[in-house]
């Protein structure tokens, strides 16, 4: 670790501690917004851990999220809370493992469609089970957890996701992912077991998202498959991560905040046209910021250093190009 990293770590720790004080000031609108933000930051960042470097766009977020929520439905009242979260993480990872083994050989649009189908399939399965065997489609969740506690758990989870992302980026695994994202053929011929690396990351990402689902489940009190496996979650996570930029660990964070605020504004002021406006916003983002906010910042920074280095050694560079 160098000094810069230690400083960033310390600053992030302080920031988290500061954010953790929010429930002391407000228990209403701001706490609700805080929960929403923290949940989406955790999910988008976890999503980008896998989808950022590999460029495999996953729409399975709702599947992991719903799985986590349904772990709470089934175990929330009987098992101790930490155990519930661990089970949610394990279930998320297992689901990712199964789905990944079946799909990571697929590429591009096939993978997107399959992951989307996966969330729908699980939703239908759960609905079928609840109506035919469980007795009712919806179920009540009575877990004694306050909004402030949910918020703190989500903040801690955000911290964990970032820590995991940081550790991965420094490791061989992180380098392997970047190589895979650039060129899978080169990756395989350099000795990278591409299937295993992708599977591992998909599991890590799925586990985190499932835990977010579990932590947020008590917010609803009443859970049914169409809430827990809502495909809007998958789409929003993708949009937010792309808006921020999925190739940097902090990218999704930059996307979640403006998007969540925008969403609040749109759904508050134009409740009948929410989807229309969201769709338009998405089109504009993809058109104007294909690399996301983070990518744009990086581009500008690169261009600036470039100009400086070129100005500094232009005669040498000219000689080189002439050759």
């Amino acid at each position: 670790m160098n000094t810069r990293e230690i400083l960033i770590m310390a600053a992030s720790g302080l920031l988290l501690a500061g954010l953790a004080c929010l429930p002391l000031a407000d228990e209403g609108f701001w706490l609700t917004l805080g929960i929403s933000l923290a949940g989406y930051v955790a999910m988008s960042t976890a999503w980008a851990l896998f989808s950022g470097p590999t460029s495999y766009v996953s729409l399975a977020t709702a599947a992991f999220f719903g799985t986590g929520a349904y772990v709470v439905v089934n175990l929330g009242e009987t098992a101790p809370w930490p155990a519930v979260l661990v089970v949610a993480a394990v279930c998320g990872a297992l689901l990712a493992l199964l789905a990944g083994m079946a799909t990571l050989r697929l590429s591009g649009v096939h993978f997107v469609i399959f992951t989307f189908g996966l969330a729908e399939l699980i939703r239908q399965l759960v609905t079928w089970y609840q109506t035919n065997i469980g007795g009712a489609v919806g179920q009540y969740v009575f877990v004694d957890i306050s909004s402030a506690q949910i918020y703190w758990q989500l903040l801690a989870l955000c911290g964990l996701v970032f820590l995991a992302g940081w550790a991965i980026n420094r490791s061989r695994l992180g380098l392997a992912l970047r190589v895979i994202g650039d060129d899978e053929t080169v990756a395989a011929h350099s000795g990278i077991n591409t299937a295993r690396v992708k599977l591992l990351l998909f599991c890590i990402s799925g586990a985190f998202i499932a835990v977010v689902g579990a932590v947020l489940a008590p917010r609803w009190t009443y859970i049914e498959p169409s809430i827990a496996f809502n495909s809007m979650i998958s789409f929003q996570v993708v949009i937010m991560a792309l808006l921020g930029g999925s190739r940097r660990l902090w990218g999704p964070l930059v996307g979640v905040i403006p998007f969540t605020v925008l969403y609040e504004l749109i759904s508050g002021h134009f409740p009948n046209h929410t989807h229309l406006l969201l769709g338009t916003a998405f089109l504009l983002i993809v058109y104007f910021l294909p690399q996301g906010v983070a990518g744009r910042i990086e581009q500008l920074r690169l261009r600036r250093t470039h100009r400086e280095t070129h100005a500094a050694r232009s005669p040498a560079t000219l000689g080189e190009t002439a050759r």
């Binding site: 190589v179 053929t185 080169v186 395989a188 350099s190 000795g191 990278i192």
Partner: protein, 244 residues
């Protein structure tokens, strides 16, 4: 040259639908040899390279590296046994710097070098292929020959038992070609084993200990460069009956 059998190809065949792209090819490569793989366009040279590196699975036949059967293994397992390659159409990693590109070869190669040590390896290899001082540039900022240099350095970073070069010298201008030939000669001098697909005759004459010539998927001739280039069958395959 030590007489130690390194790579053995026996009856290797690849069929695509009705097309036999590689037909019953057999030859051996001794450790420390530089072997040229020649043949007109479409004769199956690159397919043969792909069969050795695992990019394609052979329909029949076997590839053995020091007694170990490579046939049917996935490319990353083959890479782990010490086979490294470059690609006919240069393949560098655009989002990685030159240094990181080369590190990849060492980090994931047979020796699984730690990232810190790989950095040192990569730096000295970039120096060797003539990219010293340009470690932090990205491939997009480099010329074609420099990208080819990165690719060669990446393959060398794995410290491979055998290096497969697929037209590494193609597309270079005469000056660059001389540099390129010198570079491969220096690999030969340090005892590396190389199998190179090549069209540049100067390079073949001055570098290869032995050549294998393919035509329409089959082996046409094998021998020293002088021998195979004088072989009437080879001349016919390249230039037609009138010249044989």
């Amino acid at each position: 040259m030590s007489n130690h059998l390194l790579l053995s190809i026996a009856g290797l065949t690849k069929v695509f639908g009705g097309l036999v792209a590689v037909n019953q090819i057999s030859f051996d490569i001794q450790a420390g040899e530089v072997v040229g793989l020649l043949g007109p366009n479409g004769s199956g040279k690159t397919t043969l390279m792909n069969l050795i590196s695992g990019a394609l699975r052979p329909t029949q036949g076997s590839v053995t590296l020091e007694g170990r059967r490579l046939t049917g293994l996935p490319p990353h397992r083959i890479a782990a046994t010490g086979v490294a390659r470059t690609f006919q159409l240069v393949r560098v990693l655009p989002s990685l710097s030159a240094l990181e590109n080369v590190m990849v070869g060492a980090v994931f190669g047979p020796d699984q070098v730690s990232p810190g040590a790989a950095r040192t390896v990569a730096r000295s290899l970039l120096e060797r292929v003539g990219l010293g001082g340009r470690e932090h540039l990205h491939p997009a900022e480099m010329t074609y020959i420099d990208q080819k240099r990165i690719e060669l350095a990446r393959a060398l970073a794995a410290d491979p038992r055998i290096l497969l070069l697929d037209e590494w010298l193609a597309g270079l201008n005469p000056t660059e070609l001389q540099t390129g030939i010198e570079l491969i000669r220096s690999l030969q001098a340090e005892g590396r084993t190389v199998l190179m697909v090549e069209h540049v005759m100067d390079a073949i004459r001055s570098l290869c200990d032995r050549c294998v010539v393919m035509s329409a998927g089959s082996k046409l001739a094998e021998g020293t460069p002088a021998e195979v280039l004088a072989n009437p069958d080879v001349i016919r395959a390249y230039l037609g009956d009138d010249h044989a």
